[in-house]
Symmetry: C2
Subunit: 351 residues, 2 copies
DNA sequence: ACCTAGCACTCCACACTCGCGAGTGCTAAT
DNA sequence: ATTAGCACTCGCGAGTGTGGAGTGCTAGGT
């Protein structure tokens, strides 16, 4: 049942069936493999191999007189080989590279985006248009570090607290003031907090926050509510959001022509908490979840290809695509990986 | 062909067919109208009325032995009556009110949201869950007025320009510095710009910008790039974005069980520029676009119900839903209108 | 021992027919 | 003007038959 039980020929047949099925989206008969892939054996022999592969759980036969369809397990093996190949072994695809034109296109679309939200938006759009799959990116997970804090007067009893995180993402919180504060007062508190922020090198944490709150003399209440909001913001920054683009793309896929199949997937893509389960936590390298490997049952007919992006070397978020399990993995992996890498560069440059 | 050509009975029949069809999603036969709606006449008479309505273009008959389906024109008449009814005339539905429980639910979900983005996000989520249709909201169109500007040092050659608009929405732009600027310098320019902002009452416009740029003494280049970014930001703020939620809901509707019908709609909802055409410009009151009334052909099987929301009395954005033309208009209109109103209050309160 | 040609077998996909039921439109009676 | 009655049309689902696709097996060849 294990991978090494496959002899060379069975592997060849399996790769052929996978490639054909990815292209045709219909069960692959032995005859087609025979004609398109020079295995040097007759259809009958191919059939016997396919039979064996079926018994081993790598292929599925919808009905007696139908060709074969790869199973999740087949794709898993294939992807494992693909990834191993990049580290030296022989690859089922002989290695897959993006064309310079495509690399260039990706770079160009991302290069000018320095505000993280814009870069992410652009990234998912690019990915969606290149892969023709729904694409997703998570907002950078809080580098809890803050770069800057500023208070802006809003109304008599309200002020806006603008927070700028290390990665450049800005966030706003509204502060209710127990008693009206003058613009000067807000300005002064801003300076106070900024100085403290420098002192603690942006680390907003329990103890240092205490010290900030204690440090108050004249502006006790104001500082207290700033501290409270900082605390809340730091906690909330754990809660990532997701950018999603191109969900309608999934309806182009033949396997999702039936609305009953498509709807669970689209509904899942609408729900932030599901995206969280599906995309996070992601190992830093590109990773692939095939069919039932997904932790969410509604995604059992989908594969997710995702990769972490980094800011200043730290993996802070994820970009990826959601497509049918029948997917050109080599290309998709290359695209997602390159996009994640480019995005990392873009975001890190803003630092 | 005009509305007043419909005598009282034909109207009754038409309202009956519409109500039934909204509920059943299947062609409505005369027998059903007879049994459920006490018109005081026999099925045969109802049939003759339906026949007339069909010739007038208010009903459609899919095939000879089928019941009737309302046309866009029928819905249009119905909605016009509905809206007129609120100004006093007799209504086809006898007026439609949200239950206090629902009003309360809407209020509760919006009341605590003071940052515009959060409020809008919450608004579309609420609308999507109450209507079970895809829901959309536009970001507030630039009140071009700015409340606050601040420069934050990012790196040697970069600074972050944080803009806070009157409505409380914050925006960031990255500034490339031709030569490194100290934190103090940035601080000073921030003050300079803030003072100018107060002087012009937040109006970022051509001539006053010139004056700001001219006013530069020591920080000529820095101010120049700030002005450039302000100009760009002011222009860009004309470009609204849209929050979209619940797109998968459309697949619950029987008329969108066929992917070929559903896909154009979902694709349209994915495209910001299409949303712009469909939702903007919106008259300040709630408005309804039925089927082919939509300016986008992909939406010909949909109706859009939208209403403007206001900040400080000015209509600055739009919330609405996209559903099938077969829609409980009275309820949907009431929901959208109430939500827009509540949203307006929430956003205005932050002022 | 492995491969392959040939063939019987299975099962789907498609087309076709048929009859039923639904719902209408017409007509003649009130 | 309304209505009961009825003939008519049409869609739909069930049932049937056929062609073809693709397999699995087997016997013979290397």
């Amino acid at each position: 049942m294990l991978a090494h039980e496959l002899d060379a020929r069975k592997e060849q047949i399996l790769w052929a069936v996978i490639r054909e099925y990815v292209a045709r989206a219909e069960p692959v008969p032995s005859e087609v493999v025979f004609q398109k892939y020079p295995l040097g054996v007759s259809p009958a022999t191919i059939r016997s191999g396919m039979h064996a592969l079926t018994e081993m759980g790598y292929l599925h036969q919808p009905h007696t007189s139908a060709g074969r369809v790869p199973t999740d397990r087949a794709y898993r093996l294939y992807v494992d080989r693909l990834l191993a190949a990049e580290r030296g072994s022989a690859s089922p695809e002989g290695g897959w590279r993006l064309s310079p034109a495509e690399r260039d296109r990706i770079r160009r679309r991302l290069v000018a985006r320095e505000v993280p939200e814009e870069a992410l938006e652009e990234a998912v759009q690019t990915l969606a248009s290149l892969t023709e799959y729904p694409s997703v990116a998570s907002t950078p997970r809080g580098s809890r570090r803050l770069r800057h804090v500023h208070l802006v007067p809003l109304a008599e009893d309200r002020a806006l607290l603008v927070l700028v995180a290390e990665c450049g993402a800005a966030e706003q919180r509204v502060l209710r003031l127990e008693r009206p504060a003058s613009a000067e007062e807000l300005e002064e508190v801003s300076r106070l907090v900024s100085r403290w922020l420098e002192a603690v090198a942006g680390q907003v944490q329990g103890e240092s926050l205490e010290r900030l709150a204690a440090q108050a003399r004249s502006h006790r209440e104001l500082l207290a509510s700033v501290v409270a909001q900082l605390r809340r913001a730091t906690a909330a920054r754990g809660s990532v959001r997701f950018f999603v683009e191109g969900v309608a793309n999934i309806l182009k896929q033949p396997e999702f022509q039936d609305v009953r199949r498509a709807r669970p997937v689209l509904a899942a893509l609408d729900r932030q908490e599901v995206l969280r389960d599906v995309l996070l936590p992601a190992p830093p390298e590109v990773h692939v979840r095939i069919g039932r490997e997904n932790p969410v049952d509604d995604m059992r007919d989908c594969s997710v290809v995702a990769a972490a992006y980094r800011v200043g070397g730290r993996a802070v978020g994820v970009v990826g695509v959601v497509g049918p399990t029948r997917m050109p993995y080599a290309r998709t992996i290359a695209l997602v990986r390159y996009l994640a890498q480019t995005l990392s560069e873009t975001l890190s440059r803003a630092d």
